[in-house]
């Protein structure tokens, strides 16, 4: 029987925290599974909703932006594909941010009654959004088959960008979650942030349209690097990638991640008292 002495003291850093995270690793999956399962309980078409929603969105986008507005695409890639390739990571990011910021308050009954590393709760919320992302990705694959579009070798780098998207959502998500427990104001900031972010991220447009002198400022938005990267992988070199901007985005993502984890850990001690 493994015997380790646990010491509980005011202000003491949790030396076992990362080991506990590993020990409770199954909880990441279980909480995400719970949220996804509950969503489709007592529905008639059940899990098909998960496919239907992104599919319909894609159709609307294609019709509105492609046929009606006739906005220019990039290279030889069909316009709907370009939009969808940008929309995918953005949808993941916005849903992850909204879900994780409310995750702690939504699970208040768990937080006040059981011990487990609290980091698991917002991360599981991001995992839930990730599952939706994977399903939408299937739709993307379907679209590529439909347009008979063959991606280049860049597609192999896609998993890297997927991980980047995950981390880009996790960082701000953790920070806002921790803040939200104390100041419920953040609950109202999130929808605004998401709405605003949609217009300054290259979802509906390509990064090409941004004038040169604004490029660097524009790249401060972490999702710029992620979305551009996505486009580049999927559309195969036909979408340009602005290297300096990308490196800046990457740095911002890392910064937010560190900031998020640190502030979360610091505030974690008082969650049960303030929730």
């Amino acid at each position: 029987m493994k015997k380790h002495t646990l010491i509980i003291e005011a202000g003491r850093a949790e030396t076992h925290y990362w080991r506990d995270l590993w020990r409770y690793r199954e909880l990441f999956y279980v909480l995400a599974w719970r949220d996804v399962t509950v969503r489709y309980k007592q529905t008639v078409i059940g899990i098909l909703w998960a496919l239907l929603r992104p599919f319909l969105t894609m159709v609307v986008f294609t019709v509105v932006f492609g046929k009606l507005a006739e906005l220019p695409s990039v290279g030889s890639a069909p316009y709907p594909l370009m939009v969808f390739a940008g929309m995918l990571p953005w949808a993941f990011f916005s849903s992850a941010l909204s879900e994780s910021s409310n995750s702690l308050i939504g699970n208040a009954n768990l937080i006040s009654k059981v011990y487990f590393p609290r980091l698991i709760v917002p991360t599981a919320a991001v995992v839930t959004s990730f599952i939706d992302f994977l399903i939408s990705f299937l739709i993307l694959v379907g679209m590529m088959v439909w347009y008979r579009f063959l991606p280049g070798w860049q597609i192999l780098l896609l998993p890297g960008f997927i991980v980047l998207a995950f981390l880009a959502s996790l960082g701000p998500g953790l920070w806002i979650t921790a803040m939200n427990v104390k100041f419920r104001d953040f609950r109202y900031i999130i929808p605004f942030l998401v709405q605003f972010g949609l217009y300054i991220s290259p979802v509906g447009f390509s990064s090409n349209v941004v004038p040169e002198n604004w490029r660097l400022l524009y790249s401060l938005n972490p999702m710029v690097g992620v979305i551009d990267g996505f486009r580049w992988c999927i559309l195969g070199g036909e979408s340009p990638i602005y290297i300096q901007g990308f490196i800046l985005s990457f740095a911002i993502v890392s910064l937010f991640l560190l900031l998020g984890i640190r502030s979360f850990r610091k505030m974690e001690r008082n969650f049960a008292d303030q929730i």
């Binding site: 380790h4 646990l6 202000g11 199954e26 768990l110």
Partner: protein
């Protein structure tokens, strides 16, 4: 590892909460006052935000110490009961041990994994089925999925919900819900179990099952159990030592019977064989007459610290009559454990009702211990004039029944709340 090792060691543990207070809203509050109040509030919150202190909403901030310098140790394999009035700090202590909240001061050392049962059905989602909730709840409590799969059949058998495994839990009756929740928790295998008043829910069968399981967990499994309860009977039956908390401080730590005695306000020491009833908690103030004190006596007339199982316990009640009373009566009742009324006898059963002038009086009666089990019984005394209430006191703990003669065998796991000699005849062939 020797048995003298403490598995939990609590040293000067203190927990402070900050309370916010809203100032009284007077009817004619000037705008100036409102502005002044809000500005002060914002300044205070900003200052706290900058210096990193806790932000409290309200006009004024107050400190509340839920626990003050609590010290105790728990040995491996021990069942420790924690009792106290509501608000004494029991749940706060458990929360700190379960690492749900942090202490303000002090230090705790724990050698072993803790499973905390602060609530039955933590994490249960009403939309999920029983089967799904077993996996969910088990994971939250710390079991791996492989472990849950292995113990799945045992859990379902313990909960007796096999037919309803695939029904959403929101359709369960409250009994099924609580049985399922406890079944999952009962199959945890951490070394230390912390249980917070979970026995308060559920019917008698369920409570018996829970207690049985907790006892077997401690006796057969050698696990340590910390058990918070208001059920004195359960505490007395299961615990080897009891910790009494009072307003955040340790009031007593030791023998269950003495701790229960102290909890009920008998001066904190079992050596008091006379209970002073003048300040004893009552639901109604006395009118016309009041109970002064009650003394317990052995058959020879000496004060009874303990009483033997077949002796007669003398109970002597001192009263004071303030106004002249006609047809005065005193009734006694014996109550078992958590409130089951065993029997009630009155002065009027054996004597005509007297008319009393103001003064002090004494009434004595004898309870034959032969009819009682070796458990906790409480005395209720009630005085009235005709049908009018004079005074009423409940919860006076009887002296502990101690078997001084080792040859007498008293079985206490039997059914019932009393023992009645049924006159067994010697067995014969038919």
């Amino acid at each position: 590892m020797s048995l003298n090792d403490s598995i939990i060691s609590v040293d000067n543990l203190s927990k402070r909460y900050l309370l916010g207070h809203q100032r009284e809203r007077e009817r004619y509050t000037a705008l100036r006052d409102v502005i002044e109040r809000n500005v002060k509030g914002v300044i205070r919150k900003t200052r706290d935000l900058v210096t990193g202190r806790q932000i409290v909403h309200g006009d004024a901030v107050d400190e509340f110490w839920a626990l003050k310098d609590v010290c105790f140790e728990v040995k491996q394999g021990e069942v420790l009961g924690i009792i106290g009035r509501n608000g004494a700090g029991k749940s706060t202590l458990l929360k700190i041990l379960a690492r749900i909240t942090e202490p303000t001061k002090g230090r705790i050392e724990i050698s072993g994994r803790i499973a905390s049962l602060l609530e039955v059905g933590t994490g249960f989602h009403p939309e999920l089925t029983g089967r799904e909730n077993i996996y969910l709840n088990g994971s939250i409590l710390g079991m791996t999925r492989a472990e849950i799969r292995r113990k799945f059949d045992e859990i379902v058998a313990f909960a007796e919900v096999e037919r309803f495994l695939d029904t959403p839990v929101k359709r369960y009756s409250s009994g099924m819900y609580v049985r399922l929740a406890f079944a999952v928790a009962a199959h945890l295998d951490q070394e230390i179990l912390i249980v917070d008043e979970v026995l308060a829910v559920g019917d008698v069968d369920f409570q018996k099952k829970c207690m049985g399981k907790m006892q077997s967990v401690s006796e057969d499994g050698g696990r340590t159990v910390l058990f918070v309860s208001h059920n004195m009977q359960a505490v007395r039956q299961m615990c080897q030592r009891v910790l009494l908390l009072n307003q955040g401080e340790v009031s007593f730590l030791g023998e269950p019977h003495e701790a229960i005695s102290a909890y009920l306000g008998q001066g904190g020491s079992a050596s008091a064989t006379t209970v002073d009833l003048t300040d004893y908690p009552r639901t109604r103030p006395p009118e016309g007459a009041r109970l002064l004190e009650v003394s317990f006596l052995k058959p020879d007339g000496n004060p009874a610290l303990t009483i033997g199982p077949v002796e007669e316990l003398g109970v002597s009640v001192g009263i004071e009559v303030m106004t002249p009373l006609r047809h005065f009566n005193l009734a006694m009742a014996l109550v078992h454990g958590e409130g089951l009324r065993v029997f009630s006898e009155a002065y009027c059963d054996e004597h005509p009702l007297p008319d009393l002038e103001p003064g002090t009086y004494r009434l004595t009666f004898r309870i034959p211990m032969r009819f009682l089990k070796m458990e906790s019984y409480f005395l209720t005394l009630s005085m009235n004039e005709k049908s009018y209430h004079c005074d009423h006191v409940e919860g006076i703990l009887l002296p502990e029944i101690v078997d001084e003669n080792p040859n007498l065998q008293m079985e206490n796991n039997r059914w019932g709340v009393v023992r009645v000699p049924v006159g067994w005849e010697k067995i014969q062939t038919m």
